[in-house]
């Protein structure tokens, strides 16, 4: 039986960040994840945009944490080797009403503490986005909006948490909670975990866990977002994130370069009931293609590499639902929607503050290991296949197993030998990019499955 000071429930980007932060204090930490891998639910299927928070609601917790999280993750990405590109975003106005909204959005950005935005005229819009459909009237430039590898981010946090001594408990779905006077017992599918404190970072299941602790304060309404990823040959068509002017119905559909060198179109936004419904739909994909055709017709001439759907953990509240209950020794991080990637490190910092206010000793340890250096899977940075010195030192980096994404056998080997190894093909894809390319396995699917089978000792397919 595991006994710890703090149990973090949920191995998404937020839970991993919190576990990493708390493991850096004089606290014993366990990170409980229901699935076989970290970052395997909401965190794996998002737009992977690092937000400046320019369009958040001024004064909200989300606004503050997104601003702070942007700075923290940007700084952390350097030593951890997390791919990050400051590509900038252009909000494009397509009619007079939208054009008139842009100065309001600029003022909102300033109110959110972001003052590098600027209005640009239509010529500048087309200079920056020559493949944009005709008919734009003007734009708002947000030069600091960035794209980041959300997979590497979550993995770096989890890896560092483990290096700092946290216990990573995979396949530990919490099924019951007994809060005692000094200890809380978390009943899981893989046995009990006894802890002093509980941090709820359970994402789509955060309200269920909250109710197990006797509360009734929010309901997660999964918001499905379908996304289409275009071939890498489309990448030269778009150098910035192209954003629509937000409406009451949401942020709308964007076109963005991806950190892996593709172009992304999406997301849709659809409130649904099933918390596991990550299937794409005919109407969703058709809607996106119509939008894409209207925004950048040239994009539609390229092949689609992937289409997928993710669920954002939206709630009935406008802001994050963050609270601490000192009596129950319980911290809730609920309703962390699509901005959670950006705010993750700030949320972790925030949790430390909440725990300190409850009298916990949160002094940093002095014997911390170095920040882990993660393998680079970003297209804009040197990858092993193109690294002559690296191949000379170890020929396995010159032996490609996934041709479309140029993934070497050395990288696959490294992933299996890493602190937080993959347990299936999808996990391997998130660590190496293997099989995420245009052929989707035509050439290398069988070989990569074989390597997975070898490594996990089973006949994975």
């Amino acid at each position: 039986m595991t006994v710890v000071d703090v149990a973090v429930v949920g191995g998404g980007i937020v839970g991993c960040a919190v576990a990493r932060e708390l493991a850096g204090r004089r606290l014993s930490v366990a990170l409980l994840e229901a699935r076989g891998d970290i970052g395997d639910v909401t965190s794996k299927a998002n737009t992977a945009i690092l937000h400046t928070g320019f369009d958040a609601t001024p004064g909200s917790l989300e606004s503050r944490l997104v601003r702070r999280g942007y700075d923290l993750l940007t700084a952390y990405a350097v030593p951890a080797g997390i791919p990050l590109e400051r590509v900038g975003a252009v909000l494009v106005a397509w009619d007079d009403e939208q054009l008139a909204t842009l100065p309001t959005l600029l003022a909102k950005a300033v109110a959110n503490g972001y003052d590098h935005g600027g209005l640009i005229d239509v010529d500048e819009v087309y200079r920056r986005l020559p493949n944009l459909a005709p008919g734009a009237l003007g734009g708002l430039l947000i030069p600091d909006e960035s794209i980041v590898c959300s997979w590497t981010s979550a993995l770096a946090f989890a890896t560092e948490a483990v290096h700092r001594g946290a216990a990573l408990l995979l396949r530990h779905r919490v099924t019951g909670v007994d809060v005692g006077p000094e200890r809380t017992v978390l009943r899981t599918e893989a046995g009990d975990v006894t802890t002093s404190w509980v941090v709820n970072a359970a994402g789509l299941g955060a309200d269920v866990l909250d109710r197990l602790l006797g509360h009734d304060r929010f309901t997660v309404v999964p918001r499905r977002g379908e996304l289409i990823v275009f071939d890498k040959l489309a990448r030269e068509l778009v150098e910035h994130i192209v954003l629509p002017v937000p409406t009451a119905r949401g942020k709308g559909v964007l076109v963005s370069p991806t950190i892996y060198g593709n172009v992304m179109l999406g997301p849709t936004s659809e409130n649904i009931e099933d918390r596991t419904a990550t299937a794409t739909t005919t109407h969703g994909l058709e809607f996106l293609l119509d939008k894409g055709r209207a925004l950048m017709p040239r994009l539609l001439e390229e092949d689609v590499t992937a289409a997928y759907a993710g669920l954002r953990a939206a709630t009935e509240h406008d802001d994050y639902v963050v609270d601490v209950d000192a009596d129950q020794r319980y911290v809730l991080l609920g309703g962390i929607r699509s901005t959670g990637l950006t705010s993750s490190l700030a949320l972790a910092e925030h949790v430390v503050g909440l725990l300190a206010a409850c009298g916990l000793d949160v002094d940093p340890r002095e014997d911390l290991p170095a920040v882990p250096r993660m393998p680079n899977i970003g297209e804009a940075f040197l990858r092993p296949y193109a690294d002559a010195e690296r191949i000379d030192a170890d020929p396995e980096y010159g032996r490609l197993v996934c041709f479309c994404e140029r993934v070497s056998r050395g990288e696959v080997r490294d992933a299996f030998a890493s602190t937080v190894p993959p347990c299936d093909l999808d996990g391997l894809r998130r660590r190496t990019r293997a099989l995420m390319g245009r052929c989707q396995g035509f050439y290398c699917g069988a070989e990569v499955s074989r390597l997975l089978g070898e490594s996990t000792g089973g006949g994975a397919s």
Partner: protein, 412 residues
């Protein structure tokens, strides 16, 4: 450290087209063939059934035997065939960046032949919605799995498509002990050779649903079924299966051509070539299924033989193609190759224009037009059918002017 090599001819792709070109050129030139796979031979390596070598070797053999024979022929003619060598981009007009276990290097050819072949569009590129479970394959992946890895695909499969390659998938599934519960095709009739269709269907006992489309994949971790829509009635039904194989729907492996900025034919999506298989860059040629996605392996091999003569001519004279007239396919045709008529380019391989159709035509009468005038007309003895190449005589264009406007080819 990056090292560099220079040879007379660099061939990218050790499939039938590349190996045949290498064999013919290696007699009197230095030839380096690059292939990213661990074993040379291309697609035939994993098509373990008869039907290879008819037109080029004048004998019928299996895919793997055919592949071995081509590799052996190229090597004994003096070509260096280097495997696990992936050309990832260009470092000059005819210089390629290459990654292999022996290092990252550049390779320069006085001529370059792109013979990178074609692949099937996977489920995602076809935008078939639904979950993303395991068990969704292309024929290529299936045959890799079964013939090279000796693993089992599943127990009940639905095959999407009813063209030649689809039947190849059926044979492979059968051999692996996986039942084919349905073949589905959007067309009115199975696309493959009429001769094969009836008897093969009978022999293999595969139910074929024509005028149907797969509209959804069902199953979270493993495929549980596919939803099929009847295109005539609009009705849908779910067919239970644990494997679905998307076959055909070919796209050339055009990445190097695109990265190099070569002119690309929007219809084939492969590099645009003239009858001498010259691309828009002097000294860079393209042959095989990267130019016509896809014809049979033996036709690709004959392309390799054809391109060798023109590569040799380029090496001797260093004279590239003059600008020419584009050749455009009209419906029911989707594409035509070659798609450029240049002065003095003579005829293409086997004096044939290769075309791909989206609809059946029983007794086609082809007509070629240029600048508002008819320049050629032919009645064809064989039908036009989707799912396989339609071959037309090059003489259809003998009165077309390479210095004139666009040439169109359609049916009357």
């Amino acid at each position: 450290m990056t090292s560099s090599t220079t040879v007379d001819v660099v061939v990218v792709g050790a499939g039938p087209a590349g190996l045949t070109a290498a064999r013919d050129l290696a007699r009197d030139r230095s030839v380096l063939v690059l292939d990213r796979e661990a074993e040379a031979g291309g697609i035939p390596r994993h098509s373990d059934h008869l039907g290879y070598g008819m037109r080029d070797l004048r004998r019928v053999t299996t895919g793997p035997a055919y592949a071995r024979r081509l590799v052996e022929a190229a090597r004994s003619a003096g070509a260096e065939v280097r495997t696990e060598a992936a050309a990832t981009g260009w470092a000059g007009e005819r210089t390629l960046e290459v990654t292999s276990p022996s290092g990252r290097r550049t390779v320069t050819g006085r001529a370059v032949v792109l013979a990178t072949g074609a692949r099937e569009r996977p489920r995602s590129a076809r935008l078939v919605p639904g979950d993303r479970p395991a068990g969704v394959l292309t024929t290529g992946q299936l045959q890799n799995l079964v013939h090279l890895q000796h693993r089992s695909p599943g127990r009940r499969a639905v095959v999407v498509g009813a063209e030649l390659v689809s039947w190849s998938a059926v044979l492979t599934l059968r051999e692996a002990g996986c039942a084919v519960v349905l073949m589905t095709t959007q067309h009115e009739q199975g696309e493959s050779y009429a001769a094969l269709r009836g008897p093969a269907r009978l022999a293999l006992r595969v139910p074929v649903s024509t005028r149907t489309a797969v509209v959804r994949v069902v199953g979270r971790d493993r495929v549980e079924g596919v939803e099929i829509r009847d295109l005539r009635t609009g009705q849908t039904r779910v067919v239970a299966c644990d494997t679905v194989v998307f076959t055909g729907d070919w796209i050339p492996d055009h990445e190097l051509a695109r990265l190099g900025g070569l002119d690309v034919d929007p219809a084939t999506k492969g590099p645009r070539v003239d009858a001498a298989l010259r691309t828009s860059r002097p000294g860079v040629f393209a042959a095989g299924n990267v130019v016509h996605p896809v014809d049979t392996a033996d036709v690709a091999a004959l392309d390799g033989r054809h391109v060798a003569d023109h590569v040799r001519r380029w090496l001797d004279t260093r004279t590239g193609a003059e600008p020419g007239a584009r050749i455009v396919a009209l419906p029911p045709f989707r594409w035509v190759a070659p798609s450029l008529l240049t002065p003095g380019a003579e005829a293409p391989a086997r004096r044939r224009l290769l075309m791909w159709a989206d609809e059946h035509r029983n007794v086609p009468r082809l007509v070629a037009r240029q600048d508002g005038r008819e320049v050629g007309r032919r009645s064809m003895p064989w039908p036009v059918a989707p799912g396989r190449v339609f071959r037309a005589p090059w003489s259809l264009l003998e009165k077309a002017d390479p210095r004139g406007g666009e040439v169109t080819i359609g049916v009357l």
